[in-house]
Subunit: 342 residues, 2 copies
DNA sequence: CTGAAAGCGCTTACAG
DNA sequence: CTGAAAGCGCTTACAG
């Protein structure tokens, strides 16, 4: 609020309505024990004065702010390019709004290790709780949160072994189904384009496990040569595919651990004169919006970022409201979407 | 904060340090007139007690919250798919963080007209000011902000004629340069894929003007048949291109008002057996990250969303701090990036 | 059903 | 350089 005009407070409303300011408080908080007539008077005064309760005062008195933090230990620039994360944020925002909560964004600006996002959040001391995007480097941040007695739920896996509240999609099963699908099509040599080898996030580890399990079920021994690394970008998918094609015994199918790398793979294959899926099949992961529009439309695993965000937010609100949590870890379904690239 | 543990306040710190709590206040606010020795004592007490000043109390006393709102009168789902907007938000976030401010997100959930985003913001009465994404329907929201004496800066054009503070890229010049580039290549019939005809945003109107001006300079009369509408999505670009190709005298170049539609156009052209740029040139707008990766790499107009966000945020902070604003409307450069699609 | 008192955790003049 | 007082705008028991 600008300081240009005098603020209108609960006392102004009380004077205007001819009641005590405590009564005004009752009205704005929808409490019982107010005559209909008094309530109307107060409402009228509120409207004519254009009164809005001051959140800072309210937070102070209630020890609750109706603000939840969203801690993203990434550079904002990176954050805003990850469609799955954005879907999560979007549904968290919706869920918060529905309860009259607002979202306070806390990202890690610049090139630090992400701890800053937690620190700024804690320093502010304003939110009732937080949703945090779990990263391998998150242990220190989570400790900070614990140490300051915050309620929080993590989006992702229990990477930092804090054993608190987690929600994530069933990456393992999703990857397993994708692999079984390829197996069913007769493929025996399925190349993997994994995420970066360092700082591995739980999700990719689980995907790899799902892949290996499916292979094992089919009695196939995993050939480490078939696994190459990318960094989630499209160009990295192209480079990874180049390596796979250079193998003495190249794969007949490629399973990329995200859609953008899968798209890069398809480009590379096309420019090498190979047809997808006739010569080589490709499967992605995430089902980003562009996947269905791709040429050929991409077979992929749909993760409901929307669902992850919603469930995590609901969990946080239960924590804040002191309601019981059934399970500290929620795993949401991942669904194989078969299109034309496989 | 959870209520589980007793909060540590300024008074606890004072007791621990053996000073009055006002002195603690001085230390945490880095004020002069504190002996180095006292300061050290207080700092020590702060650390051992893990004290953090309470933002609500501070806001109340200071009448300032160090929170700025970001009002996006869109559905969060839409918001999170617009790369240019995301770039703006990302730089606003960075700018805010650098000053110790936090960003409070206020989006319009669901299918209302966007006014809700403003209303929730105003109802909260917590921010020191706001950055608002300007939309054609924003007039009522801006009035609400005015009526409640908020400082705010709009990202976009003065669509609602409130004549306050605005920052946007130079869409007109950018479109003019793109058009001149095409004219220079010898094109005389340049098709336009415009944004949606209803609810036109200032930016597309300006782009159209830039196009027409460039045409006029070259002595070419604008042929309305060459303008078709899309909705900024890739598929709409394909459909629009289909219409353009069906013309009795089709264009030799297409200028799409965003990159995604330009990509859709290229797909359509390719699948119609046409080569880009040999048979028909294509130019986009925005320079989203995927533009450079496209095949062929897309000629486009780079708008610095990052710059727009930064400048708007800086303007808002000046307003909040009572510093003078040189100009209420800032126009930032748009730059033509020539790649292989033209 | 309504009012008076105390307090939330800070900051801001004002003394000394 | 440091402390005592008052106040920011609400809510929360407690009376009546």
């Amino acid at each position: 609020m600008t300081g240009s005009k005098k603020r209108v407070t609960i006392k102004d409303v009380a004077a205007q309505a001819g009641v005590s300011y405590q009564t005004v408080s009752r009205v704005i908080n929808n409490q019982a024990n107010v005559t209909e007539k008094t309530r109307r008077q107060v409402q009228h005064a509120i409207e004519t004065l254009n009164f809005r309760p001051n959140l800072a005062a309210r937070s102070l008195a209630r020890r609750r702010s109706n603000i939840i933090g969203l801690i993203v230990p990434y550079d904002a620039d990176y954050l805003f390019r990850d469609p799955n994360l954005l879907a999560q944020i979007s549904s968290i925002d919706a869920e918060a709004n529905a309860r009259g909560y607002n979202l306070l964004l806390s990202t890690a600006a610049g090139s630090d290790n992400g701890l800053e996002a937690y620190e700024r959040f804690v320093r502010n001391q304003v939110a009732d709780g937080a949703l945090v995007v779990e990263t391998a480097a998150g242990a220190a941040g989570n400790q900070l949160l614990n140490h300051n007695n915050y309620f929080y739920v993590s989006l992702g896996y229990d990477l930092s072994h804090t054993r608190k509240y987690f929600v994530h999609a069933d990456d393992r099963r999703g990857a397993g189904e994708a692999t079984r699908h390829l197996l069913q099509k007769g493929h025996r040599r399925i190349g993997i384009i994994n995420g970066p080898p360092i700082g591995a996030v739980g999700a990719t580890q689980e995907r790899l496990t799902g892949y290996m399990e499916a292979l094992a079920e089919a009695g196939i021994i995993f050939d480490p040569c078939l696994m190459v690394y990318g960094d989630y970008t499209r160009p990295s998918g192209q480079r990874a595919t180049e390596k796979l094609l250079a193998l003495s015994n190249p794969p007949t199918a490629i399973f990329a651990f995200n859609d953008r790398m899968a798209m890069g793979a398809i480009w590379k294959l096309k420019s090498a004169g190979l047809r997808v899926p006739e010569d080589i099949a490709v499967v992605g992961f995430d089902d980003i919006p562009a996947a269905a529009d791709f040429s050929p439309p991409l077979t992929t695993v749909r993760l409901s970022g929307v669902q992850v965000g919603r469930v995590a937010a609901q969990m946080l609100f239960k924590l804040i409201d002191g309601e019981p949590i059934e399970s500290p870890e929620v795993v949401l379904p991942a669904e194989l979407i078969v299109r034309q690239s496989s």
